[in-house]
């Protein structure tokens, strides 16, 4: 589809995150895997070694680990603005799952669609945006044909 047919948004940050303190936008991350299943081998390895360190490093994120009988293991990431992102981790190695989780942590929850402009500013004008009365000297007297001048010219001609 063309960019007109697909959704698009402007570049923004969630509530100017990072201007003051930085708040990690990842609210909750759930690891769904199966205890016996070839596809969740990487998930199980990651849970053995990496998940606890991840949880300690990101104190603002809640980590859920739920073993269920499922065909495809997945990571469900929920963000503070309500967006939910599901990523399947079938047959991924522990290293790849770790990279994927850091990527999800660094994302804000905004939609991954076309960004219309790669720039955004909250103060687009410093000196004030132009309007027709900037740099216009104030008018002296009412604007329009002045009767006095017309009378003077008539008197002078006569």
């Amino acid at each position: 589809m063309t960019s007109r047919g697909t959704p698009s948004r402007f570049l923004q940050s969630v509530l100017q995150n990072g201007v003051g303190r930085y708040v990690c936008q990842l609210k909750r991350i759930s690891l769904i895997f199966s205890k016996n299943g070839q596809s969740s081998l990487g998930a199980r390895e990651f849970i053995e070694e990496g998940v606890v360190d991840f949880a300690i490093k990101n104190p603002g994120t809640v980590v859920y680990v739920s073993p269920q009988s499922c065909r495809i293991p997945k990571i469900v990431a929920e963000y503070l603005n309500g967006n939910v992102k599901e990523e399947a981790i079938t047959s991924k190695t522990s290293q790849q799952i770790a990279e994927l989780i850091t990527k999800l942590t660094n994302q804000s929850g905004l939609d991954i669609i076309r960004i219309r402009k790669p720039i955004h500013t909250d103060s687009p004008s410093i000196q004030g945006q132009w309007h027709p009365f900037t740099n216009r000297p104030p008018s002296i007297g009412p604007i329009g044909p002045q009767k006095q001048q017309a009378n003077e010219r008539l008197c002078e001609t006569s």
Binding site: S125, Q129, W130, H131, P132, R136, I143, P145, E156
Partner: protein, 179 residues
């Protein structure tokens, strides 16, 4: 202005102004350049040809315009009615007598860009042969533009003090006879 809402700021920036020009004793070409610049919106920093940012221009006293040189007799306005033998050529004087607004109108029309916006811009040009403007137009005016040509004064428009203060090369004696 920074405390305006976005819509109010947009409305302020793209507002259309109304300008007044007095064409008394002015060359119509100079009047027309001023009109054309403002009808296109080229006097604004937000100008773009596709954005329709032109303003309204009201020209009064078009009956009292002043051509320089012998243009009243020599300048020719041509038109063709598309019928055979329909080629008409009229001098500026004849055209001005027939329609006092036509000279300024044709001058401005020729100075606007030759595209479809030209007709819209001409609709925003308001010409009046004398200085009696209708109420609703008088209420809209925001600025009067200064006249391009400084009107020279006649001898009887100078006061006696100014005439005496003017430097003379020599004063003729009492019984000097001018030819």
């Amino acid at each position: 202005m920074s405390s305006f809402t976005k819509s109010a700021q947009q409305w302020a920036t793209f507002a259309r102004s109304w300008y007044l020009i007095d064409a008394r004793m002015q060359p119509p070409g100079k009047i027309a350049t001023m009109c054309a610049v403002r009808l296109q919106g080229k006097h604004k920093p937000i100008y773009h040809a596709l954005s329709d940012v032109g303003d309204h221009v009201v020209v009064m006293n078009t009956r009292h315009i002043a051509f320089s040189g012998n243009k009243w007799e020599q300048k020719v306005y041509s038109s063709h009615t598309q019928f055979p033998g329909g080629f008409k050529q009229v001098t500026a004087t004849q055209l001005h007598l027939k329609d006092p607004k036509a000279i300024v109108k044709l001058a401005v029309y020729g100075m606007l860009p030759r595209n479809l916006s030209r007709r819209t811009m001409m609709q925003r040009l308001h010409l009046f042969p004398e200085d009696d403007l209708p109420e609703d137009i008088l209420m809209n005016l925001t600025e009067e533009l200064p006249q391009p040509r400084e009107i020279p004064r006649r001898l009887n428009e100078y006061s006696q003090e100014e005439r005496e203060a003017f430097p003379t090369l020599w004063t003729p004696p009492e019984d000097y006879r001018m030819k």
